[in-house]
Amino acid sequence: MAALPRRIIKETQRLMQEPVPGISAVPDDTNARYFHVIVTGPEDSPFEGGLFKLELFLPEDYPMSAPKVRFITKIYHPNIDRLGRICLDILKDKWSPALQIRTVLLSIQALLSAPNPDDPLANDVAELWKVNESEAIRNAKEWTRRYAMDN
């Protein structure tokens, strides 16, 4: 039995050969199950212009169980808590082995475009998002500018 499942190798090669626009995922030098990820903030979202670092880890029984993903860069979002943990169904009970690293990261990017304060992980952020959306969006933009822009 190989140290690293073939599927992980194949996904890694594809990520290099056919990169997804706005997403890069690079395996770590010492642990090929650990990926350094950058997701760019989607256009027309409060996260536009931001480069968000995430870490992604493929557990031993991947793809039978979901990758573990977490934001490393601070982000103001109702479905992402202050530890960077993400509330997304496909990372939990809606995981399917037909999903891949690239589809997971695309879903996370889509979550940035469509915050869902009714299914909150960061309660205070979600609360503000519901009672005063414009202020919440201002905060999200400010956090993006302060922490995630690279200039």
Partner: protein, 349 residues
């Protein structure tokens, strides 16, 4: 008079279609004047009565414009199953050519015949298994689900077993009154989430996919190394401006340390500032589960230890040949392999 007279050629064609195809095989939509405007039918390869050995299918949708058959209809092929993109594209262009040839005459039967021929010719899944991402080879055992999705039997067995394990674990976490009384696990298709029914025992007896076994090893390329550098640089820049989530300050690290295996913390493989460990302890829970982290402590501890030992194992055995001394040679070797893979991948199967 404004009363519409439907072209006799069309009424005859529709009547013949209805006579030949079964009701559930044919869907004809009419506009508000009662003229047929769209014909939809699911097509299978011609295998006689044997539906078990039909491995591919596609839905043919034909939009009839006003003036058909003197004007060509619009063809679309939806829900292809077991077919790769190239095959579907070829079917599409052949069908369009056929429509051109038949301007002025009804073309539905010709189209159905054409698509069936294509399906019969490629009546073996040409797409890849969505679970392992490798193709189907001569000698591979594969399974067709009720929803016409294909998986290597071995891969599907692994999926169903893992999904059932997950289901049981989730059930056990719930208070008794919330548990599913039937305690009956329902497997679903990994691609479309339709319920599927399979005999897992017999699936497990299948050998692993041939391509998976024969795949080449992977090592780090120059491009990869360059990307790694860029990532690391961005991390440092964001860290300098306080943009990186500080797990230590959030009190997570303390939680982690208590579970760490001796030795795993000091020279662990995690890049600086990262937190693989945090996952195992602080599983990302939907918010309604977050109020009761204590109850999950024990299982998480186990997971964590499990992961740590695995990670160590991986480092000892998986990367021995990536040391600095061998780096140059390994890279060249990988290049060659890489190019070969690229070639085989671009060759349509």
């Amino acid at each position: 008079m404004s009363e519409t007279v439907i072209d006799e050629r069309v009424t005859d064609e529709i009547a013949a279609l209805k006579a030949i195809l079964l009701d559930d095989e044919l869907n004809i939509k009419e506009n508000d004047r009662g003229e047929p405007e769209c014909i939809e039918t699911v097509l299978f390869p011609s295998t006689g009565e044997d539906s078990q050995s039909q491995y591919v299918c596609v839905t043919l949708i034909v939009q009839l414009p006003v003036g058909y058959p003197d004007i060509s209809p619009t063809i679309s092929l939806r829900n292809p199953r077991g077919l790769d993109e190239n095959t579907v594209r070829l079917m599409q262009s052949d069908a369009e050519a056929k429509c051109k040839d038949f301007i002025g005459q009804p073309v539905m039967f010709e189209l159905i015949e054409l698509i069936r021929e294509h399906l019969t010719r490629s009546n073996l899944p040409t797409d890849q298994c969505a679970i392992c991402l490798y193709g189907f080879r001569e000698g591979d055992e594969f399974t067709k689900t009720e929803c016409y999705h294909y998986f290597h039997s071995h891969c599907l067995a692994a999926h169903i077993a893992a999904a059932e394990r997950y289901y049981r674990e989730e059930q056990e976490k719930l208070p008794q009154w919330q548990q599913d009384a039937t305690n009956k696990f329902q497997a679903i298709c990994p691609v479309c989430r339709e319920s599927i029914n399979c005999d897992v025992e017999s699936l497990w007896s299948a050998p692993p996919p041939i391509d998976v076994e024969a795949a080449i090893d992977f090592s780090v390329t120059t491009e990869l190394r360059e990307l790694q550098k860029q990532m690391a640089a961005l991390f440092l820049r964001q860290q300098q401006r306080g943009g990186i989530i500080d797990l230590e300050a959030e009190g997570v690290k303390t939680l982690v340390r208590t579970e760490d295996e001796p030795g795993a913390t000091t020279d662990g493989p995690n890049p600086p500032g990262t937190s693989l460990n945090a996952y195992s302890n602080q599983n990302m829970q939907p918010v309604n589960h977050m109020q009761m982290p204590q109850s999950k402590q024990s299982s998480q501890t186990q997971n964590h230890a499990h992961y740590q030992s695995r990670q160590l194992h991986h480092n000892y055995h998986g990367h021995n040949n990536h040391g600095h001394r061998n780096r140059g040679r390994g890279r060249a070797h990988y290049r060659r392999q890489f190019d070969r893979v690229r070639q085989t991948e671009s060759t349509p199967r």
